[in-house]
Amino acid sequence: MKRDSHRWKWILVSPALVVLILAASGPLLIVAVYSVLSPGNMGGVSWEFSTDAWFRVFFKRDIFDPENVTLNADHLAVFRRTLWLSFQTTLICAALGFPTAWFIATRPVNRRMVWLFLITVPFWTNLLIRTFAIQELIRNTGTLNTVLLWLGVIRQPLELMYSDFAVLLGMSYVFLPLMVLPLYAAMDKLDFRLVEAGYDLYASRLQVLWHVILPLVKPGFIAGSILVFIPSIGAYVTPRVLGGGRSMMMGNLIGLQFGQGRNWPLGSALAMVLLVIVVVALVFYLRITTREAGGRDGQS
């Protein structure tokens, strides 16, 4: 009887398991296998084992001088730009998200929903459209330059498009709500009597912020940072439109190998590298959070 119910559990859970295995592990396996094959004729793969793709991720062999092997500076530059831009995006979102979330959390309860609702409005429009809208704002003859020229602040239009700055601006705008929402959730649970207690004990505004509020909303920061950092690393559309094929991020480098680059194995290997970076970043964040929890236990 007992064994029977056990079997039923497995049977009932099997559709979910099958979907998980097929949808998560299957594609991943294909990517892993492709990364050790040879590039096919004009795209695709040919079924010959080769470690060339992995070699190319990190090293470069001169086309006309095969003996000359160097570190692949182009790829490393893209990795570095990806990590640095994602880190900056997270910082900017945190800096802008904190006051925004604080503002919402300190409104009367019945109005908070209106503000939260407004935060989600940008999601109604397609990401591509929003990115093109930013392009309209910052291009040479765009709104920003037109206004600044008219005001006489600048004499020449600022060259903002197709730069790391443009990509950073675009990503910060796109991902900001992902920081605001978890921060708000953390602040919503904040016991404001603790803030008052801080003031009663003659703490300055800065001290209250640093020693009372920030530690209490830290889980919100961590959740928000993960939600912003991870998609930033894999961003494709924003750097594609605002970076113009020059300020490439990893997503674009991978996309390139499956299109014009015609090197699917290299694209697959790069995708695996991206995956490793994401996992390392996640583990890093999780370790910070668990250490935090342990510390609090130690204090009590």
Binding site: M42, G44, R139, E159, M161, L256, Q257, Q260
Partner: protein, 342 residues
Amino acid sequence: MKKLIATGLAAVLTTTGLASAEGVVNLYNWGNYTSPELLTKFEAETGIKVNVTDYDSNDTALARIRQGGHGFDIVVPSNSYMQTWISEGLIVPLDKSIVSNHGNIAPEWVDVDFDPGRAYSVPWQWGTTGVIVNTSVYKGDINDAAVIFSPPDELKGKINVIPEMSDVMALAIYYAGGESCTTDMAVMRKVRDTLVEAKAHWKALDYGTVDAHVAGDFSAGIYWNGATMRARLQNADLAYGYPKTGYPIWMDSATVLADAQNPENAMKFINFILEPENAAMISNFARYANGVTGSEAFMDEVMRAAPEIVVAPELAAAGRFSPACSQEVNDLQSQIWTEVLQ
């Protein structure tokens, strides 16, 4: 509630039923390349609805069709890719019993090396790849690839290069003094060095930039003649240059996919675009010549004397029709191209 669902289902069934009665044809074509008027006219004449999906490069189109399950009927590849499409069995020969207008193909476009006798494909449009220059920024000679490959100071950091390998490689090889599909390593090394060096002065490698050239985001670039004409019609400072060291001539041709769901409708559409009046509609929209006899009579006045379409006699000889290169040459070009793009 049940009634609501039933009505909904009935509605869905009716609409799909209607659609399949007259049929559809799914066209997979370059972005901003298909005249909406042409589609309206085809629908009015045949009752067949045309759905258009865009692609931005030959590689994108090839990769997507190879995967299967795409649902497209017609694709429009460039000459340098056509042999790949044919040899991999991705496209089928034309059904001449439906494509009765086959004789309208201009004689010079029938026995082409990428599809001898036009067994598989019919001309969509043809054009050249040259340079677009904003003459208010740069006053020098624009019939020179040096504008892009060794840019003058006033153009540095203001150049966009379309990321289409065959076009850019051809221009660079001619600039380095080579022939199409050359295997001369000295020339190819020069090509690589020129491109890598020049890239430092390019602002972007992007498609779909008619409005960016019009708005002045870029002051020069490698671009196609028809797209340049569309930009020039909106901004008179823009001009099209034919590099005197050599520039590629290309043709995109419409062809029917082997796994088309509506092959008969596709053949009807292919036949339709070979009518001179309809071919002219394509040209009037995208601003390229089309290779269909008699279509000139239906073209807009602005196209007949346009410097982007009518090549000056002293520059005509520099135009070269780029053949399909061998696999080894393609590999070498791909490697250089990837290095440039990264």
